[in-house]
């Protein structure tokens, strides 16, 4: 029943413009048939899914009021399975109110700050252009999606605020606060700080810091610099420090934990408009002499306009295990169609545990029937520790208005 209510709500939104003045309507529908093997009982499963996304713009004469909605319903084809629904968001947005000084979102929407992030049934305000300063505030019921349903109740809340400054050109500084309550009890309370500045056209420096007031500890620190010495080369170095923290009522709070530290460097070079190479190295430190090294290299190539090839190699040694894996995929476009395919191969050694390799082969075809209507089929075969062959895939019809 919940799934049907979600569909009805989104269809109602789509009809909304009929009763107002000339609003802009964008409507996306994806009807999918999926098949896969269940991990636990290894039985074949069939499922249907209907996704709907509706954007209604310019609901008022000034064109500042918009409405956005996105949800899906799914049902396993096996008898006795009920429809499952997921309403990702549905909110009104009013932009640039009070002479371009306020943006407002009301309804179910996703909020994101350094201090805290999540989906809320509530309000988000952004008071902006107050000189160089802006203020955000948000709060509402915290929406938590389980596999089958939404969980939580009215006493699960998420709220926060931030003050930010866009001061010296290309500099953003923001101080944020956020809390989360579970069943009416404080679970998390964080203070966040983030900064990004480009003092010279060749260098960008950024950072993020989060302090957990419940655990009374610095839980996250990121400091990075991005350098563009020549037009087609981007270099980056980062230091990241993280200390796990837990909900206030969790018994895990009573244990001591180590910091995780990571130093990484990466580079991206655009050889020509159609060839790009990239590489990364990260040194991971889990304390108590436990470390890890991560290496990544990759190439993106478009040898002809219609063909895109992408290959990535990753190697990891150290704490938790070893991994050596390659991913290769390509896309070839022919008029209204595109053929895509890829192979993933991973060889792994988990610490004092499972080892072996895993392979994934997939292929897909996109076909544009009309400008608004598109069909997609994707199939995938997995060979791994659990399955000799595990097939999964979907066939979808997408409609865009």
């Amino acid at each position: 029943m919940r799934g049907i209510r979600i569909v009805a709500a989104l269809i109602s939104i789509a009809c909304f413009p009929l009763f107002s003045h000339a609003a802009d309507l964008q409507f996306t529908s994806s009807t999918q048939y999926l098949w896969y093997q269940d991990l636990l009982d290894t039985l074949d499963k069939d499922e249907v899914a209907q996704y709907l996304r509706v954007n209604v713009g310019k609901l008022d004469k000034e064109g500042k009021l918009n409405l956005y909605g996105y949800g899906r319903v799914t049902k396993q084809m096996s008898p006795g399975d009920d429809w499952r629904g997921r309403l990702y968001y549905i909110y009104f947005e009013y932009r640039d109110a009070f002479n371009n000084h306020l943006d407002l979102r009301a309804g179910r929407n996703y909020v994101n700050t350094t201090a805290i992030s999540g989906t809320i049934d509530g309000i988000y305000l952004n008071a902006k252009n107050l000189g160089p300063v802006g203020i955000t505030a948000f709060g509402g019921r915290h929406v938590i999606f389980d596999e089958k349903q939404e969980i939580g109740n009215g006493e699960d809340t998420l709220a926060g605020a931030s003050v930010y400054v866009d001061t010296v050109k290309y500099t953003h500084i923001e101080l944020s606060y956020g809390n989360r309550y579970n069943n009416g009890d404080l679970a998390r309370e964080n203070i966040g700080f983030n900064i990004s500045t480009t003092p010279h056209q060749m260098i960008n420096i950024y950072g993020r810091f989060r302090y957990d007031t419940v655990a009374d500890t610095n839980s996250e620190l990121l400091v990075g610099a991005k350098l563009v010495p020549v037009k087609k080369l981007t270099l980056r170095g980062e230091f990241y420090n993280f200390k796990p923290t837990f909900d206030k009522d969790s018994f895990f709070n009573f244990f001591g934990v180590n910091n995780y530290k990571e130093i990484s460097v990466d580079a991206e070079y655009l050889l020509t408009a159609n060839y790009r190479v990239h590489a990364k190295y990260a040194n991971e430190d889990f304390s108590d002499d436990a470390t890890g090294d991560l290496y990544q290299v990759g190439v993106l190539a478009r040898p002809i306009d219609e063909l895109t090839l992408n290959v990535d190699y990753e190697k990891r040694n150290g704490f938790a295990g070893q991994l050596s894996g390659i991913r290769f995929n390509g896309e070839f476009r022919i008029r209204k169609a595109a053929i895509l395919a890829g192979i993933d191969y991973d060889d792994f050694r988990r610490e004092a545990s499972r080892q072996g390799n895993a392979k994934k082969y997939w292929a897909a075809v996109h076909y544009s029937i009309t400008k608004q209507l598109r069909a997609i089929v994707r199939v995938e075969d997995n060979k791994n520790f659990n399955f000799n062959n595990s097939y999964q895939g979907f066939a979808a019809v997408n409609f865009n208005l």
Partner: protein, 210 residues
């Protein structure tokens, strides 16, 4: 440096920068470019403009820094569905190139082939990254079901307590257990989400919490 001192420095820095408020700058609306191909075209504006080019091969990691800024311009090109298809599981745009869950939901590229086998390794690369999309319940839901069906099939590093005499733990096991827990306590939640799951052998009798 004490924690109080750190907080004071942050607050004073913020106040100082507000006080030197200078020019706020005009932002380019990217809606005109939303259908453009990412690549060299971006460099026409983004080299020497003061705003670095992004959306490169490491954008999965980089994007959080940009998306957490209030007043960011992500919405010029992306709807919230673009975020939530990864963060909350969905795939309305049916992007076939993405890593997909069994039920066709988009996942970040870190979810390589048979992620169930390799997730203990990948989760070690930035342990916080799992919790940006998953509640801890996501781990325990699957682990507890798997334990109920086939405990030995979990192939987890052996960590049951070893006793050298009744009620006397092997000191080397205790040391290893403590070191593992300190390094990776979040992963313990996967099978032991509640105190009762962990203290049934009464090693930690006086812990508070749930």
């Amino acid at each position: 440096m004490s924690k109080n001192m750190t907080l004071k420095i942050i607050l004073l820095s913020t106040v100082f920068l507000i006080s030197i408020a200078c020019l706020s700058f005009a932002r380019t609306n990217h809606r005109d470019y939303r259908d453009s191909k990412l690549g060299e075209d971006c460099l026409d504006c983004h080299v020497g403009s003061g705003v670095m080019n992004n959306h490169g091969p490491f954008f999965a990691r980089e994007h959080s820094v940009l998306a957490q800024k209030a007043g960011n311009n992500c919405a010029d090109c992306h709807e919230q569905s673009y975020c939530l298809d990864c963060h909350n599981g969905g795939n309305i745009d049916t992007d076939a190139r993405r890593s997909l869950s069994r039920r066709g939901e988009a996942m970040p590229s870190t979810h390589r082939s048979h992620f169930i086998s390799i997730h203990p390794i990948k989760a070690a690369d930035d342990p916080q990254s799992c919790f940006r999309c998953h509640e801890s319940k996501f781990c325990s839901d699957c682990h507890l079901q798997k334990i109920a069906v086939n405990r030995s099939g979990m192939s987890i590093k052996p960590h049951s307590p070893i006793f050298v005499a009744p009620s006397v733990l092997d000191p080397s096991w205790t040391a290893g257990h403590a070191a593992d827990a300190r390094r990776n306590l979040q992963s313990c939640q996967g099978c032991h989400p509640e105190k009762a799951n962990c203290t049934n052998f009464l090693c930690h009798p006086n812990l508070g919490g749930r």
